[in-house]
Assembly symmetry: C2
Homo-oligomer: 448 residues x 2
């Protein structure tokens, strides 16, 4: 009997373009939504006749890189991006740092992102005491407390467990905070860059814990990092037994130092802060720990003066990555077809659909989801649009997941959770697109 | 109506471990294949009692990285691997080079690979005139010949087409040649490292060509690179209209220089050499070009003295990545459970199943496929094994794809295609595992 877990050839990633629903032939679809000036001849306007470039030296003359040898192939044992990509980098800010960047964050350049994973070099990073450099030969993982067989594992022993590879985003629960509390950056990177996504390789904790035997009285587990901040968070045992992993691989290679090399905890869909890096120990108990990072921090102060604690999952969210302030439509001519695209995600499940509005949320129309649609993972959406350049439009995306949650508006969110907490904001983000194609974050000029 | 292309939550990547088929509970399965000493308590033997490490200073004392600040988070705008990963690198060899490494290859460290993508820094590279450094602002793509509307596109114009992201391997048709023709390296990296895999982002050529209008008389297309080798290969129009893409993205960022930055051709499943990098033009014609790289090279000389030309797809193949000569079992004790795992792939379709043998191919048993199983993509297989250390075993993997092809033995391959051609070898690779856990390539000491 076959153990094969097969995905049909017609997965959404690999299926041929369906002309009925593709952006190139959406006539029927758009008959129903005439508010949008979308043509069936998407992208036709990018055609540039050869004669328009007849005097272009890049066509008519030899290019420098075609007339001399390039670099020897062994120049880089570990390759690096093209020097022309120097703007595609993580960015930090004094506003979000203790001043010295040891307890700080760098944000991912989402405006340059593609697909549903982030390259390791651009994965956002958050640290409470700098980036630890752990010697894997000296690394130890202790699992103890209310377990049958407390153990200490070396890195090599841990990696001997059968591994799995899964694609998940990791998001800081403060993602969106710079825009919410200190709206000084009019761009996407600082609005939503406290998240990235990767294919993670490691062992399911349920497999490991089966060996060790968690006692029935154990309800909570402290995960503690070995860095100098000794990052500690309490996690319910149910999550560890569900889809949690101990991971050592990130996008096909060892975890990066900023992500907890050699080993971090992965809790798919939950707060980044819980997914402890440089993982030192897991201690099981019948009570939570009330650690600093789940009491004074990472709690949500409500209008009544009480704070919500232990709010773990990152709720359904989305953002339009093109256009955005860093990727405006200033090079478009009136009538050009252009793709509106972005990322949707939910820590509670799988993205079900994403809607787009060009009038600030009055009317909505459904976008196309493209590529793989996986649970607790980034999902790409796409919508072909004809740029008219006659008026300012307000562009928004609104995601819905398969547990039935939909992003609220900012007003709905404020009504519900107030204005104090910077955590777990997932309200709709809107870009204002001016006639000249310039893009601005609407929220920055909105009084809340 | 929804445009949603949804994958059920129970995709193989994200499904909970099925205890019926998981390596931890394969009793029923293995009753049928008693030749294998596989226990249902897989991995239990990695347990190390805490007391065994009671004097381990790494547990009993503070570790250096826990008692001082790490690096500031903004130290690297573009992150790099841990310095402890210095051995996980691409490797070149004078044997496979013109001596100067301009027309040469670096091989990917498959023994360190995880999941179904390769990090961009470790993607194998092959160049015929060095690695070109193309200025994206000066980049132009010309599409001409037997088309209705010949065009020249800039990089920005090209990227305005609606993009897709797909996961595919790229393999040099000479993969395995070092082992076949000049068997001097007893390792995996040189045996199969002329391939890597990535999630590619770009436009489907069928979408672009719809705009341009390929004339019915066009049957072939020359793809030509802008590097100094002017790499040129002829491709049948059917492939371009099927699943070919023009790609600018690799694992979530711009293509790497070694992969043709800013733009390469992607022909899923076909010879790497055809997937022209630094792509300059596509010219359509009613005849093939008989270019150098499809006449004097990349052809397969047969026993009768004739050569096969235009043999494009990479056939079904597999390799065990753990153990391998670089990842031996020398640290195992008798009775330890250990995972045999590796990569299977087919340029013709999707991996259907992979079989494992420990006795040089006399008996076979089916491995488990794990993670996503996608067409023309790497697929991971896994098999739990109890190491007995009593005798030398010969470990082999044999993949079968969904078009019904199965890897031949070396003898079958030699009978069929002789010994002259180094291209398109896909016969079964076997590792000899000695009693002490040392691993050697059987092929290297086999007389053909």
């Amino acid at each position: 009997m076959s153990n094969l877990k097969k995905i049909d050839k017609n997965t959404s990633e690999n299926k041929s373009v369906d002309t009925k629903t593709s952006p190139l032939n959406r006539r029927n679809f758009f008959k129903k939504s005439m508010a949008y000036s979308v043509s069936a001849v998407a992208a036709a306007s990018v055609l540039v006749p050869t004669k328009a470039l007849a005097n272009d030296p890049n066509i008519m003359k030899h290019v420098p890189w075609g007339t001399k040898l390039g670099d020897p192939v062994n120049k880089y044992e570990y390759g690096i991006p093209s020097p022309y990509e120097h703007n595609n980098v993580r960015r930090a800010s004094p506003l979000l740092s203790s001043g010295d960047y040891y307890g700080s964050i760098t944000l991912a350049p989402l405006h340059e992102s593609m697909g549903i994973i982030s390259p390791n070099g651009l994965f956002f990073t958050r640290s409470h005491g700098g980036v630890a450099h752990v010697d894997p030969n000296k690394y130890r993982l202790m699992i103890h407390g209310l377990v049958e067989k407390p153990i200490v594992l070396t890195y090599e022993q841990l990696k001997r467990y059968p591994s799995e590879t899964r694609t998940h985003f990791i998001e800081c629960p403060a993602n969106g905070a710079p825009e919410w509390r200190a709206p000084q950056y009019n761009n996407l990177q600082f609005a939503r860059g406290m998240m990235s996504a990767a294919s993670w390789t490691g062992v399911r904790l349920s497999v490991l814990l089966k060996d060790i035997g968690v006692k029935p009285s154990a309800k909570w587990c402290l995960a503690e990092g070995s860095d100098n901040s000794e990052m500690g968070r309490t996690i319910p045992v149910e999550k560890l037994m569900d889809d949690a992993m101990i991971v050592w691989g990130q996008n096909g290679e060892a975890l990066r130092p900023e992500q907890g090399y050699p080993v971090r905890l992965l809790l798919p869909g939950w707060e980044g802060n819980l997914q402890v890096k440089w993982l030192k120990r897991l201690e099981f108990s019948d009570k939570p720990w009330h650690a600093k990072e789940e009491t004074s921090k990472y709690t949500m102060l409500q209008p009544g003066g009480k704070a919500i604690r232990y709010f773990w999952p990152m709720e359904v969210n989305s953002v339009i990555t093109s256009p955005c302030p860093e990727k405006p439509w200033t090079d478009l001519k009136k009538g050009d077809m252009v793709e509106i695209s972005g990322i949707a995600w939910s820590g509670l499940g799988t993205i079900k659909h994403v809607d787009i509005s060009i009038n600030g949320g009055k009317d909505w129309v459904e976008a196309k989801l493209k590529g793989l649609v996986l649970p607790k993972s980034w999902t790409r959406f796409s919508f072909m649009y004809k740029f008219d350049g006659n008026k300012t439009i307000v562009l928004s995306s609104r995601a819905t997941d398969d547990v039935g949650r939909t992003q609220p508006t900012i007003d709905e969110e404020v009504d519900k959770v107030g204005v104090e907490s910077i955590y777990h904001r997932n309200s709709i983000l809107s870009w204002e697109v001016k006639e000249n194609g310039e893009v601005n974050n609407v929220h920055l000029r909105k009084k809340v």
